[in-house]
Symmetry: C2
Subunit: 422 residues, 2 copies
């Protein structure tokens, strides 16, 4: 079986080194300002070229940080335009009362002044401990060295400075020739816990050096988010600060290349989303679930997400146990209509069910398939290798299909989250 990253079309996009600053005109920086007790980098900046459009996607949680409100309001007021985004890691600035908004306003105002921008053109994301205010003196003092560090190769430093409990940084850049012209898309993300569809303490950023009308860009980004960040789950928890910001700025792209651009945008978003799921706390493998034959794509995605989110499925995969009963039981509670008698199920190349009933299969081989997934990399181009445990579920004869990604649930996850703050 194959879990495709890109929709079925001729794929003009090739990976290139770098991340957020691979596209022309984008500058970034990441420094240690002293917000984190660890001394790790904690202040990050992205500066987009003049005329940039920006589409944002935010946590659906009712309890959200002031910085999220500020981003959403500024993008709505500007019709989807922004130039810069500041990210502080260490303090989430959520549940901090009126001070939360005041600090977000002060930080963006001070940065705007240094960048010679209007405050309204500057956005801010915060990540870290909830309920703790940002040490504002430290942040403000960090702005001068941060702006001084802005560079056309600053993407990697920026990607490191947004991390909290992540084990690895998460970056990607793709390049395509569209109408004889080079177009690049770059991205970075953070997040490894509180990760669930509808944005997780998950921050994501994307840059693109092709010009696209603001409204169209927003539509493209919304669809890409639905098929990437909203299709991953680590632990079912949604964060107060989840934000995805996608910037585009450059020579206007000809409309005949919009579909290709959206494919690249989706590929970058899916790469970052998979990277977050793979870095899930305590995870030993990525789980990719493809559901086919549903009445529509939304239903297929909902089933795939429910399977990825099932604690029992996640534990079974952690134990490398080909436990088809848990997979089909999770599908049954997804709230999507299908005929249980039509269910067929594959784990990698091993078929486990047909017509709603278990098949006799080589249990040891199926378990070995999963054991082998603990090594390698989920980025492997060969779907038969790498560390992705692939599940494919057929639920009928409908045209709807959908993908979701998650990770296994280990005792390590419990230890990390039982011992975290105290």
């Amino acid at each position: 079986m194959q879990v495709a990253i890109l929709p079925a079309m001729t794929n003009p996009w090739l990976p290139i080194p770098g991340g957020l600053t691979a596209p022309a005109g984008f500058l970034a920086a990441g420094i240690t300002a002293g917000l984190k007790p660890s001394g790790n980098p904690d202040l990050s900046l992205l500066l987009a070229p003049e005329g940039a459009v920006c589409a944002g996607s935010f946590t659906t949680s009712l309890v959200r940080a002031a910085c999220v409100d500020l981003c959403a309001e500024r993008l709505a007021a500007s019709g989807g335009r922004a130039r810069a985004v500041l990210t502080n890691s260490g303090q989430a600035n959520a549940c901090t009362g009126e001070r939360g908004l005041a600090d977000s306003l002060a930080a963006t105002a001070a940065l705007a002044q240094r960048l010679n921008l209007a405050a309204e053109e500057v956005l801010i994301c915060s990540t870290g401990v909830i309920g703790v205010p940002i040490p504002m003196d430290t942040l403000i003092a960090g702005l001068e060295p941060l702006v001084a560090a802005l560079a056309s190769d600053g993407g990697e430093a920026a990607a490191r400075a947004i991390l909290t409990t992540d084990l690895v940084d998460k970056q990607i850049a793709l390049e395509a020739q569209l109408g004889g012209r080079r177009v690049r898309i770059g991205g970075m993300a953070k997040g490894s816990g509180m990760i669930h569809p509808n944005m997780a303490t998950m921050l994501g950023y994307l840059s693109c050096d092709a010009g696209v009308p603001a409204e169209l860009w927003q539509q493209m980004v919304r669809r890409a988010v639905e098929r990437s960040f909203n299709a991953i789950t680590v632990d079912g928890d949604t964060s107060t600060n989840d934000t995805f910001l996608a910037f585009a700025a450059g020579k206007p792209l000809a409309p005949e290349h919009f579909d290709a651009l959206e494919a690249g945008l989706t590929a970058v978003s899916q790469h970052l989303a998979r990277a977050i799921a793979r870095d899930g706390e305590g995870a030993t493998c990525l789980i990719a679930v493809r559901v086919e034959g549903a009445a529509d794509d939304a239903g297929a995605r909902a089933i795939a997400r429910t399977i990825c989110g099932s604690s029992l499925v996640k534990c079974a995969i952690h134990g490398r146990d080909p436990n088809w009963g848990r997979i089909v039981a999770a599908a049954g509670r997804a709230g999507v209509a299908f005929d249980p008698e039509a269910v067929a199920l594959w784990l990698g190349d091993h078929q486990l069910m047909e017509a709603g009933q278990p098949l006799v299969f080589d249990r040891a081989a199926a378990s070995r398939y999963m054991k082998d997934r603990a090594n390698g990399s989920y980025l492997s181009a060969d779907p038969a290798s790498g560390d992705t445990v692939a599940i494919r579920l057929l639920v009928g004869a409908g045209a709807g299909s959908g993908l979701a990604w998650g990770c296994d649930l280990s005792d390590q996850y419990v230890r990390i989250n039982a011992d975290y703050t105290t």
Copy 2:
């Protein structure tokens, strides 16, 4: 703070020894028929008096066992009347294709003949491994000794024979004087995760020796289930076989006592539901969440359930970490509108938040409160003792309140579920 078992009213119900057969006229039995390799009891029977009404509540999973379909169909056809229910443990008889229904029909037909009842008056519940058919010869051979064992004190044997991975059996009986007349309600249940679709499912049974019109009984049971079995979560997974069956048979109760009866019905259901959550795989404590001040009860219950179901909250409580940020973050994603600035939060007697912001509190004392909950019993009448970690969340000034129960998430849960079948 207090997490009330009963709604606020004068409570006429007192606990008495026994379970399902404490109410007059109910007979039960439990034997070892040989369905389980372990040799533990595996066949259970409840026989209700003539004229009994029966209300059922079933799994909402689309993938459900044939026995669940059969129960639902028979109760619908009879207008809520049934006399007996057979339970086999060891095989869930789910995902067994056409054979599943044939076996359920054959088992109830054979039992009905022995009990001199119509097949339509007999129900069947199955629990155990999914995808494995019931060894029918063994089951049929067990019916004669099972019927012979029926006794007015058979409740305990019946309660033992329905268990699978449970560590303890779950029974209760209550008695009240209603209008100068003794009324009793008894119950038993099994389940130690709503989940473990390979082996575990929640099954619940209730008996009552007061006569109630079938339709009214169904309404009472529906409300009681909403406030008990539908308010617990162990790991968010729903089984293919979840079933609750409540029987009532006896001298008709005067309508002025219906409210009191429903209070008893709710108390028995809540006791059994809490017992299941407490026996959750790997759990070290019961978590009781009370949400107040919501717009309505349904919204309050939804928030309470979301908190109980949050892996991050469950891990924090396992680590005895007073992590209020995770509790309020879980509330925020429950899909229920409330004002985050109105939130106040208590852990036991320790107030952690007020007006949406964290308070300075004695973190060590709050952690100690949780550590102490690992001992004692959740059945303790004193809400300040026992092994219940009590969370109270105020979300506004509305009249809606609701309760939910769950358990902590331990590394032991992961080990149990990662190592189960292979």
